[in-house]
């Protein structure tokens, strides 16, 4: 089964409470990079999600965050040989009502996608934010504001000076 088919399947299992985030969402917003897994966010609680997955015969496990963790829980599993994870939307700045429906898949809005990436704060996350900033200059002010709020300006700046990124996405 293809990556997108798995994304559709998991998205369907969670409906109407699931939204695509991560690499697939990024690709839909124009960030061309490889991704090997499916990331979703939901406004359901972990127990409900696990029950829905179990009903569909999809194996997964819940990792509960501790008081130091910014995530309440993360559900990880494998569906048709594709790894997936499901996060609690509120933990990562995702609001399902902001989602955009593309080809019957609900994907996080550009703004929520940026917020979630700034909260995550990893190199790959800031790469994606930098690409969006180069692709869509209208988002610059919002991105700078989020990067400051979540203290990731340095990583973002490093990517904005990355020659490969500039040659691919810069003007």
């Amino acid at each position: 089964m293809s990556l997108v088919a798995v994304a559709r399947k998991l998205h369907g299992v969670l409906q109407p409470h699931g939204i695509l985030i991560g690499g697939i969402c990024g690709m839909m917003h124009g960030i061309e990079r490889f991704t090997r897994d499916v990331d979703l966010a939901t406004d359901l609680d972990a127990e409900k999600v696990m029950m829905l997955l179990k009903n569909e015969g999809i194996e997964a496990e819940t990792n509960v965050g501790d008081s130091f963790d910014r995530l309440s829980w993360v559900i990880k599993g494998v569906c048709d040989d594709v790894e997936f994870q499901i996060l609690f939307a509120k933990d990562i700045g995702i609001d399902l009502s902001h989602g955009e429906l593309k080809l019957e898949l609900l994907i996080a809005s550009e703004e929520d996608f940026i917020t979630s990436k700034c909260i995550a704060g990893g190199q790959q996350d800031l790469h994606d934010v930098a690409v969006l900033m180069l692709l869509k200059p209208a988002l610059k002010a919002f991105i700078e504001q989020q990067a400051e709020q979540y203290d990731c300006q340095e990583k973002l700046q490093a990517w904005l000076y990355d020659e490969r990124l500039l040659s691919r996405y810069g003007n």
């Binding site: 990556l3 997108v4 690499g23 690709m27 839909m28 991704t35």
Partner: protein, 92 residues
């Protein structure tokens, strides 16, 4: 992009083409439960409007026409799957 007015049947056909891997006209007609000839005509009309591309392919030694949506989001999802398939091949 210029807005074009589609009939309900054309919209259904386009939606189906966007939700599947590239399909032959014959397969699309089967999925939609419509006569091949009508679907063929609608596919040609969608192609003229620039909403789908047509690609000739030999399937089981017979010539077939694959219908590929030109929707930008569809193209992005296709590329995502292509990259994933290439990754699986490399790691096989």
């Amino acid at each position: 992009m210029t807005k074009v007015k589609l009939t309900r049947k054309q919209r259904e056909l386009l939606a189906r083409a966007e939700l599947q891997e590239p399909q032959t006209i014959y397969a699309l007609a089967n999925m939609l439960g419509r006569p091949y000839r009508r679907v063929y005509d609608h596919v040609q009309q969608l192609a003229v409007m620039g909403l789908v591309s047509l690609k000739q392919k030999k399937i089981n030694n017979r010539n077939a026409t694959l219908v590929i949506s030109n929707d930008i989001y569809y193209q992005r999802l296709l590329r995502l799957d292509d990259m994933y398939a290439a990754h699986l091949e490399l790691n096989a």
